[in-house]
């Protein structure tokens, strides 16, 4: 079955566990599932989640308000949480968060669980076609996406227990938490260890991994195409609507010249007018319902791809680390390594080269379609990793 394709049967490897939650072949109607989109062209905000009895989080994102300071203007959203979880001191929380705070949360979650897929956030910057950042339609679309994001996290068996998630939902002031945190290197260590655990399990199943990768690549291109086609249709519909708006009034003009024909001509003019209204509504539905939903899947697919590639990198690094460590330490004492024997340096040099090669090939491939900040982030992590490994080895 298709599900087996996506979920590798390794207990530690929760790589595609989140995909399960958004799977298209899943049982009941989900808020973003195609069946609910096709059946109802209105957005269901209060959709019943499957297994609603087991739900222990009720989170809403609403009430966007403009916040003006000396340096900038931004939107604050109200996040209301109701929970039955024991880790929480209270059962109800209300905080105000801005988009940057969501970014922070997602970054933290990705970092601490690099093998898990974290649901994407709506894009940071406006897409071409929209005029201003603070256009009402844009804010509303973003609010809905942020709402979905938090709800997805709250349903995740692992991520919902994250400390960062709790802090996000409960702390009145987030800025202090954003700056604090465990040291860089110790966090790196956590990450590398987590990856090591999962990759060791994965190494024994290279075939399934590459099949998964292939599927993800194809799916990503297909869903992108569907997204593009939809946007094109919206564009064509808009141009059609413009012409239609000129068509109706011409019949009215004609009606003014006629006697017996005036009534039927006016009738046609009214019909065309109504068609224009319907077309306008149709365009609106497509833009506000279908496009955001497709877009989310595009982002999901991208996330899947990135994780896949990151795994590749980490895999290579860890493999490099383990071969060198096992090969190297055999029959050598730590003092002789420390003494900087030629053999030792050579191995280290090999390691560095290997890591650099891994980094380069991944980055060369992964520049396509990714934003520069995310690529830089990955490169930075990579550098830090090999410095860490260097230190670890020494």
């Amino acid at each position: 079955s298709r599900r087996q394709m996506l979920v590798v049967d390794v207990p530690v490897l929760g790589v595609f566990s989140l995909v399960q939650n958004t799977s298209l072949a899943d049982g009941g109607p989900m808020p973003n599932s195609p069946s609910s989109l096709v059946n109802q062209y209105r957005l269901e905000e209060e959709e019943e989640q499957p297994g609603a009895d087991a739900k222990d989080f009720f989170i809403t994102v609403d009430n966007p308000e403009s916040h003006v300071t000396a340096i900038e203007t931004f939107i604050m959203y109200r996040v209301v949480t109701k929970t039955t979880r024991s880790e929480f001191d209270s059962s109800e929380y209300e905080v105000r968060r801005r988009y940057q705070d969501f970014l922070w949360l997602r970054g933290r979650l990705e970092e601490s669980h690099p093998t898990l897929i974290v649901h994407p956030l709506p894009e940071k910057f406006v897409m071409k076609g929209m005029v201003e950042r603070f256009n009402d339609g844009f804010i509303e679309t973003r609010r809905k996406a942020l709402h979905r994001f938090l709800n997805k996290i709250s349903e995740h068996p692992v991520l919902s227990y994250s400390q960062h998630f709790k802090v996000f939902l409960t702390a009145q002031e987030l800025t202090s938490h954003r700056k604090q945190g465990p040291g860089f290197l110790s966090r790196m260590g956590e990450t590398v260890r987590a990856v090591a655990n999962s990759v060791r399990g994965l190494r024994s199943r290279p075939e399934e991994f590459s099949v998964m990768q292939e599927y993800v690549d194809h799916f990503s291109t297909k869903i992108c195409s569907v997204d593009k086609v939809t946007q094109r249709i919206i564009k064509e519909q808009r141009e059609y609507l413009d012409e239609l708006r000129q068509y109706g009034p011409t019949y009215t003009q004609w009606a003014e010249l006629e006697e017996d024909l005036a009534e039927p001509l006016k009738g046609v003019a009214d019909c065309v007018e109504r068609c224009s209204q319907e077309t306008e509504e149709q365009i609106q539905q497509l833009s506000e319902v279908l496009v955001p939903a497709l877009h989310e899947y595009v982002l999901c697919a991208e996330t899947l791809k990135v994780s896949g590639r990151s795994l590749h990198l980490y895999g290579l690094v860890l493999w490099a680390e383990s071969t060198i460590c096992t090969g190297w330490f055999c029959g050598q004492s730590l003092t002789s390594v420390r003494a900087g024997s030629v053999g030792g340096v050579y191995h280290l040099y090999r390691l560095v080269l290997l890591v650099l090669w891994a980094e380069f090939s991944i980055c060369a491939g992964s520049f396509c379609g990714r934003s520069l900040p995310s690529v830089w982030a990955e490169i930075t992590y990579t550098y830090i990793y090999y410095i860490y490994i260097y230190i670890y080895i020494i």
Partner: protein
């Protein structure tokens, strides 16, 4: 136009039988013409059955390709049981011959609104239709237009009795000579003059002035309507065709899916069907455009009649003015007063009065002239009035025909739109089924 399901059954009921196709509705117009039943149509059936390409040498001895149309005429008579209908008489005509016929009719019956020919070159095209005269779609629509023209003439109470028209339908070879023999070409110049000349008419019939204005305005509004319609068609074509991309993507996508594969594949097919359906839809809409175009060209014919009236009125006024002037001259001559400047008057002042004899002879000549003038005025007046009477009668007939035909055209347009929407709903329902099953 994509109309959403209004759900209001009242509006649909008004149109009545929505299962009728637009071509059937168009045939209703033709049937009405036939039913109006001129003597000619009672006797024979007229068809423009086919079109063919021919090559030949033209007047400057160069090779050219042109299209000829087959005119079939068949006597209307009851077919005996088990018998076959009589074979039709057939002859071929090219477009230029139709033009010649029409020019003849225009000149011979200036007080009749002469039915127009289909357009010579494709205008108001939207991008897919080619503007090429040899394009098969254009030729087909022209064939229909020519048949329509013949039927219109054949159903006109006066035009249908014209000998030349009858020969056009029956004499392939000898027709051209017969037409030229009527000498109608002499009158062509005067017709051109009436159309193009700018002259000031003092007392035109108010009805004709109003009619000319109406005709000009109608021309402008229909032109605009055709232009905008072509643009709308263009855009609608774009919308439908882009949906074809869905078809392609779904097809490719279904290849990589397991459970969703079948659903996506079927949905893809429906999208392809949807995208392909626009070609037929817009082809049908062209019929509607052609009906509008006929009346667009009719406005030229109406204008031509109005102009002819103006010319006659102008000539009458000129003649009357001339007569008045002569009468005044006579008066002056009789009473000896010179009120009107004349060379004779000046010379007599300069060189002395003329003799009594000379004066009397001049007076006699003037009297003669005045009598002739009065005759002319009477004739011209009668001509004018006759023209106004006959023309207005035909205009009334035309107005009634126009209202009826355009009403039918609008109805069939509406029916076409409904049918298009129904098909669209069908396709999307099918696609929805596929998505539901995924």
């Amino acid at each position: 136009m994509m109309m959403a399901d209004s759900g209001s059954s009242e509006e649909v009921a008004v149109i009545g039988n929505t299962d009728i196709t637009s071509t059937e509705s168009e045939n209703n117009i033709i049937n009405t013409m036939v039913e109006r039943g001129t003597a000619l149509l009672k006797k024979m059936e007229i068809n423009v059955a086919e079109a063919e390409k021919r090559t030949g040498k033209n007047t400057v001895n160069m090779q050219e390709t042109y299209t000829v149309y087959l005119i079939e005429t068949r006597p209307v008579e009851a077919v005996p049981e088990g018998g076959t209908p009589a074979a039709p008489d057939m002859l071929w005509r090219r477009y230029s011959e139709f033009e010649l016929l029409r020019t003849y009719l225009l000149v011979t019956y200036p007080f009749i609104v002469i039915p127009p020919l289909p357009e010579k070159r494709a205008e108001f095209v939207w991008h897919k239709l080619s503007a090429d005269n040899l394009d098969p779609d254009f030729v087909e629509r022209r064939r229909v237009g020519l048949e329509n023209f013949l039927l219109r003439v054949a159903s006109h109470p006066l035009l249908s009795n014209d000998k030349i028209f009858f020969l056009f339908l029956t004499e392939e070879k000898g027709w051209r000579d017969a037409v030229l023999e009527t000498g109608f070409q002499d009158k062509v110049d005067s017709r051109l003059k009436s159309l193009s000349a700018m002259f000031r008419v003092k007392n035109p019939d108010k009805r004709f002035t109003a009619l000319k204005q109406y005709s000009d305005e109608l021309n402008a509004v229909i032109s605009q309507l055709l232009r905008v319609r072509a643009k709308v068609a263009d855009r609608l074509y774009g919308v439908y065709k882009v949906h074809g991309n869905y078809g392609r993507v779904f097809s490719e996508w279904s290849a990589i899916e397991k459970e969703m594969g079948d659903g996506l594949q079927s949905a893809g097919h429906h999208m392809d069907t949807y995208a392909a359906s626009i070609d037929d839809i817009l082809e049908e809409e062209e019929h509607y455009a052609d009906q509008l175009k006929e009346y667009l060209f009719y406005t030229d014919a109406v204008r031509s009649v109005c102009k002819k009236h103006e010319l006659l009125q102008y000539e009458l006024e000129m003649v009357a003015q001339d007569l008045a002037y002569k009468k005044q001259q006579r008066e002056e001559l009789a009473t000896g007063t010179v009120r009107v400047f004349s060379l004779k008057g000046m010379t007599s002042k300069l060189f002395g009065q003329e003799s009594q004899e000379q004066r009397e002879s001049r007076l006699a000549a003037l009297e003669q002239s005045i009598q002739e003038g009065e005759e002319t005025v009477k004739e011209k007046n009668a001509e004018c009035q006759e023209f106004v009477r006959t023309a207005w009668k035909d205009i009334e007939r035309f107005k009634e025909q126009k209202d009826q035909d355009l009403r039918e055209a609008l109805i069939s347009y509406a029916i076409m739109q409904i049918s298009m929407c129904k098909k669209g709903i069908q396709v999307w329902s099918n696609a929805k089924e596929c998505f539901n099953k995924m």
